[in-house]
């Protein structure tokens, strides 16, 4: 899918000015190292402004976004964190090619399932296993992203793609929290176009 979108972009006419869609559904493949995951989020543009880029005809669209969603990944033998997430973002989109840069600040809350049945001794001294054993978690996160709003180069393509890197600080994690790094690649579509 991504190569097709990139090819379409290359054939497109630049400098097509149009505001990015205000409501989007963001679906991403998440990876923690080689471990697979998924992120689905609904995003809303909270505020945006437009200005001319110096010495060119290009316009820069700056916006603050808010999103809520769900994120999880599967690390065999270790854990499967499942989180509800809320995130604020700042994104700058250039209108020549629709390239985007973004910075993200978020918070996830959820539960991390251990990567194996969890056994413990109950009050009667019996060893009992729980396939969903794990712990609650809170995970503030920060990230940066790069992408492209395809509607800026081909108006009919109401979508954007993105590549993001995040650091989540998973807490609790033993005596403190622990940093966990994820990378995601995904596509955003306007809410109305679904």
């Amino acid at each position: 899918m991504l190569p097709l979108l990139l090819a379409a972009t290359a054939m497109a006419v630049p400098n097509q000015v149009e505001l990015v869609p205000k409501y989007r559904l963001d679906t991403s493949y998440v990876a923690q190292a080689l471990r697979p995951g998924l992120r689905v989020a609904a995003e809303q543009s909270l505020w945006s402004s437009e200005r001319d880029r110096l010495f060119t005809d290009e316009k820069l669209i700056r916006e603050f976004t808010g999103s809520v969603g769900f994120m999880g990944w599967w690390h065999p033998y270790n854990q499967t964190p499942l989180m509800a997430t809320a995130e604020l973002g700042f994104r700058r989109t250039g209108t020549f090619w629709g390239f985007q840069k973004e910075a993200l600040l978020g918070l996830g809350m959820g539960y991390a399932i251990n990567g194996g049945r969890t056994y413990r001794y109950n009050d009667d001294g019996e060893l009992k296993g729980n396939p969903l054993g794990g712990r609650g978690l809170i995970a503030p996160s920060m990230g940066i992203g790069f992408g492209q709003d395809l509607s800026q180069v081909k108006p009919k393509l109401k979508a954007s793609w993105h590549l993001r890197g995040r650091m989540h600080y998973q807490w609790p994690y033993n005596v403190a929290g622990a940093p966990v790094f994820t990378v995601e690649v995904g596509i955003s579509r306007p809410w109305s176009g679904l």
């Binding site: 690390h75 270790n78 990567g115 194996g116 969890t118 994690y173 033993n174 940093p179 966990v180």
Partner: protein, 344 residues
């Protein structure tokens, strides 16, 4: 549900002669990952105590020695509190040798409850695992059938003294040799000078760390054996490693520092005679990290009590003797356990 199915497929094989089981054990606020593999029909489980502190049992689960040991016995690998792939929620006050030893003792009970009370459970510790194993034997009520200390350090202060003396002796030997490379000569001169300048009655924590660093580097300046055999778990280790290096490094820092602080002043030598189970002490002749004299002390103390014991030195091995001489290493352990293990 797919992750549950996949987890189940990946983690379980119920053939007791070729067991492969993966689970977590929750005790005192921590979830310890436990992998049990090998021949459970033998009636013997070796409970592996990894090195570090700050390491992971995963690092002991892919070598050729592992294949040999798992053909003979079941081997249980677990990550110690804060280290490797452990999860949990507890305070730094629980990062003590006593607490990790208590975790180990609780896990011994759990292994028998899970796989049968008639199984022998032997502790098998490497390096820092020697301290942990000794602590578990002497300071908990762990129901253990035997003890294998492989290049273990049950006495950090004495370990430093032995390392320093070994450096001084080696540097003096090297100074008399004419065929040595300039690089080697320079290294041994440096470490000999450093060790010679220490007050062996009072080695500081920073000097102890420097000695340890030199001891690992020393393995690049001696002739160690190497094996051509690869363990069957190597591919899994590379592709399906259960630990996240960055996360376990970060989390292990807390545990490593706290446990090392505790260990710097811990000396079990005066109490080694209290060990009351068959014990094998196996060390590398070229090990500067945990010199063989530690094993000799332990052997003498346990032997004096009339307990079945043996002291083995692998001539061409350094600190990672299971890597240098995997066949000889595994064979010594298998022979000892087969000879002195008592069926329950």
């Amino acid at each position: 549900m797919s992750w549950l199915i996949l987890n189940t497929l990946l983690a379980c094989a119920e053939n007791p002669a070729d067991l492969s089981d993966y689970w977590y054990f929750r005790t005192d606020g921590v979830d310890l990952p436990v992998r049990v593999e090998g021949n459970l029909e033998s009636g013997v489980i070796l409970l592996m105590l990894h090195g570090g502190p700050g390491g992971s049992a995963v690092d002991y689960n892919y070598g050729y020695d592992t294949d040999l040991l798992e053909d003979a016995f079941a081997v249980a690998y677990f990550d110690q509190r804060t280290q490797g792939g452990t999860h949990g929620n507890y305070g730094t006050e629980m990062l003590t040798i006593q607490q990790v030893a208590t975790d180990t003792a609780n896990l011994v009970d759990a292994l028998r409850d899970r796989y049968g009370q008639d199984n022998q459970v032997w502790l098998y510790g490497h390096s820092w695992g020697g301290m942990l194993g000794t602590a578990t034997l002497l300071d908990t009520d762990a129901d253990v059938d035997g003890w294998i200390e492989a290049a273990g350090s049950h006495d950090y202060p004495l370990n430093d003294v032995y390392t320093a003396r070994k450096f001084i002796t080696k540097a003096a030997d090297v100074a008399l040799q004419s065929t040595i490379t300039e690089e080697d000569a320079q290294f041994w001169d440096e470490v000999g000078g450093f060790a010679g300048g220490l007050d062996l009655e009072n080695i500081s924590e920073s000097d102890s760390l420097q000695l340890n660093q030199y001891a690992f580097t020393a393995e690049e300046h001696v002739e160690l054996a190497s094996s051509d055999e690869f363990g069957s778990g190597l591919l899994r280790y590379m592709l399906l490693n259960p630990t996240v290096k960055s996360t376990s490094w970060w989390s292990g820092l807390w545990g490593g520092n706290a446990l090392n602080d505790d260990a710097f002043t811990t000396s079990y030598t005066p109490r080694l005679g209290e060990i009351a189970v068959p014990s094998l002490f196996i060390y590398g002749d070229l090990d500067f990290v945990c010199p063989k004299e530690l094993g000799e002390d332990a052997f003498n103390a346990v032997d004096a009590q009339g307990i079945s014991t043996d002291f083995v030195v692998l001539e061409a091995s350094g600190h990672s003797l299971m890597v240098n001489q995997p066949e000889a290493f595994a064979e010594e352990i298998i022979t000892f356990v087969d000879t002195w293990g008592v069926p329950r």
